[in-house]
């Protein structure tokens, strides 16, 4: 049952992923943002849903990744260096060759992910002493601090931001290229998490969510699991931040640290779809994005009200989100049933008889 459902879902998402931009070329970048939001929601859920640590600061890694990749892309192939580039405030437009551009971009994305990962390990040494609302507010503080620190550093353009290197190619190829990157990262994150949740790691973070003191008392080395969970989220957020910066073409504090939009959206999407499940964040992100794009197009000026309404209905009536509601309603579809065979041996012989 679940297996065939899975195949249908993957099929549908695969068709959307591959044929979406071919059938609707005008919406390529919009669908790219959809995959980006799927990634953000899925990686947020690792801590927020599966582990019960509501981080409002994952957007920090997005911004840091964006800036790290800008530094890497510019400083390795522009002789003047990063300082000269940013102090010219966008008047310098270095001509990178195709090879230079793409090599710089790939290196930038990898470095962005790694720096974000290292940063998350440093943060985790003091952040995971906090629980509940203290962790949420503490992590929000990290994001705000990172944003404020960024604008004081002239090396990365301070408050006036950085113009990213120009994409060598026409505008359609540019959209398709960044679309593919977003899609691949979302797919990679999904399958990595899918595998992780099927291992002991998945159970350990669930145990931390349900009763961290009990988990400690049972000898689970909780800090290691928390670090791995946040590290994975940070790595992907760093990578996708690097991609997003290049998609935007120009980065500054607002683009890199969209705390009130993406920072909150990723939480809202997970709550909508159902936290602590593999598919909830994906479903939530898709629904949320579709509603957002539709209201932005047809209900302009009312779009925030529409989004707010959805959030309120979600929080008041469907706190467990769509997946959680389905599990409550149809537990047998999720395998939550009493087994009539009372013993392991009974179950085995029944299985053999079948």
């Amino acid at each position: 049952m679940i297996k065939s459902n899975n195949l249908i879902t993957y099929g549908a998402l695969g068709v959307l992923g591959i044929f979406g931009p071919i059938l609707f070329p005008d919406y390529t970048l919009s669908i790219a943002y959809l995959w980006m939001m799927v990634l953000m929601a899925s990686t947020w859920d690792t801590l927020g849903g599966q582990m019960g640590y509501n981080s409002l600061g994952n957007i920090t890694f997005f911004g840091v990744g964006m800036y790290v990749s800008a530094i890497v892309q510019i400083s390795i192939f522009y002789e003047g260096g990063m300082g000269e580039y940013t102090s010219a405030m966008g008047s310098i437009k270095p001509e990178f060759t195709d090879n230079e551009y793409f090599l710089g971009l790939y290196l930038g994305i990898i470095c962005a992910g790694l720096v974000a990962l290292i940063l998350s390990i440093i943060f985790s040494s003091f952040m995971f002493g906090l629980r509940g609302p203290y962790f949420a507010i503490g992590s929000l503080g990290l994001a705000i601090a990172a944003a404020e620190i960024t604008i004081t550093v002239d090396y990365v353009g301070g408050a006036s931001g950085i113009s990213m290197p120009l994409f060598p190619g026409d505008i359609e190829f540019r959209s398709t290229f960044f679309y593919i990157l977003c899609f691949l990262f979302a797919v990679a994150a999904h399958f990595l998490l899918r595998w992780l949740y099927s291992t002991q790691f998945g159970l350990a973070i669930n145990a931390i969510r349900d009763d961290e003191d009990k988990a400690e008392a049972m000898g689970i080395p909780t800090l290691i699991y928390k670090r791995i969970g946040w590290g994975i989220a940070a790595f992907f957020m760093g990578c996708i931040g690097a991609v997003a910066g290049n998609m935007a073409g120009f980065i500054d504090k607002e683009v890199a640290y969209p705390i009130p939009t993406f920072g909150i959206f990723m939480v809202a999407m997970v709550l909508l779809g159902g936290k602590g499940t593999l598919w909830g964040p994906v479903l939530g992100a898709i629904l949320f994005h579709v509603v957002k794009e539709t209201t932005w197009t047809y209900l302009l000026n009312l779009q925030w009200i529409a989004l707010g309404l959805i959030l309120i209905i979600n929080i008041v009536y469907f706190q467990q989100g769509i997946m959680g509601w389905l599990q409550d309603k149809f537990p047998e579809r999720f395998g939550i049933v009493v087994d009539p065979s009372g013993t392991q041996a009974d179950a085995k012989s029944e299985g053999d008889a079948k």
């Binding site: 992780l196 099927s198 291992t199 002991q200 790691f201 998945g202 159970l203 350990a204 669930n206 145990a207 969510r209 349900d210 009763d211 003191d213 009990k214 988990a215 400690e216 008392a217 049972m218 000898g219 689970i220 080395p221 909780t222 290691i224 699991y225 791995i228 602590g276 395998g335 939550i336 049933v337 009493v338 087994d339 009539p340 065979s341 009372g342 013993t343 392991q344 179950a347």
Partner: protein, 248 residues
């Protein structure tokens, strides 16, 4: 011949003005079942908490399997091989029973189960076997928080056994469990002790249970060690009768 696995020496612990434990000395012999009894508020659970590192003790020393553990924290002590169950049963209540069991495997350095180990095969087999041992096999796919209190208690015991600890401290294992199930539980505790070689230390108010189960019993009163001895000795000890058992 004495071979204690847990040794508590002159341990004191107070909360503000309350002296919960005063100069407690006791030991639990390897492979034994040891009981702790005493009136409510006499410091039994505080003593458990001190032993497993839940809070720092004021004075004294505690050793486990030869190592001084009074400065270690809960997780470190658990990874040495000593676990406790809680008076207020604690399980992972949003996970199903099998998952509760599978994550309870040993996390000691010699454990074969790693962070990224799969949840199929041997580990699942053992989880289901132990669920059958406590009579929860048919409920194994249910969310554990939906089980009855007694069943949760049994699940918590099974989780502790899944960990294969060297010593297990049980805080009122039979509280809230119906009489027929209590007999089964005593039987299971004894089998865990004999077949799996787990040393047990049990806090219990049910005299029938503890007198049957334990080979050696300590009685606390007002935070102090009142008496110790074999069950038959304690039953006839006038101090214990006055403080706890009461006259007939």
């Amino acid at each position: 011949m004495s071979d204690p696995i847990i040794e508590v020496k002159n341990v004191s612990k107070s909360y503000g003005g309350v002296k919960a434990n005063v100069d407690i000395t006791m030991k639990v012999e390897r492979g034994s079942i040891t009981g702790i009894i005493g009136p409510n508020g006499c410091g039994k659970t505080t003593l458990f908490n001190s032993i497993v590192g839940y809070h720092p003790i004021d004075t004294g020393s505690i050793s486990f399997d030869g190592d001084e553990i009074s400065k270690l924290r809960v997780g470190d002590i658990a990874r040495l091989g000593m676990l406790r169950t809680f008076q207020q049963t604690r399980i992972y209540n949003k996970m199903d029973c099998v998952d509760n069991m599978q994550i309870s495997v040993s996390h000691r350095p010699d454990s074969k189960v790693s962070v990224f180990a799969s949840r199929k095969g041997e580990i699942r087999e053992r989880a289901e076997h132990l669920l059958e041992f406590v009579g929860l096999y048919s409920k194994r796919n249910l969310i554990s928080g939906d089980l009855s209190f007694g069943q949760q208690k049994l699940l918590e015991l099974a989780m502790a056994l899944m960990n294969e600890p060297k010593a297990l401290l049980l805080d009122e294992p039979t509280a809230g469990i119906n009489p027929t199930l209590i007999n089964g539980l005593i039987d299971r505790l004894r089998r865990a002790n004999e077949e799996l070689g787990i040393t047990l230390c049990v806090i219990e108010h049910n005299m029938r249970v503890i007198m049957n189960l334990a080979s050696h019993i300590y009685c606390l009163s007002n935070g102090q060690m009142l008496a110790e001895g074999k069950p038959s000795e304690l039953q006839n000890d006038q101090r214990v009768i006055d403080a706890y058992l009461g006259g007939h």
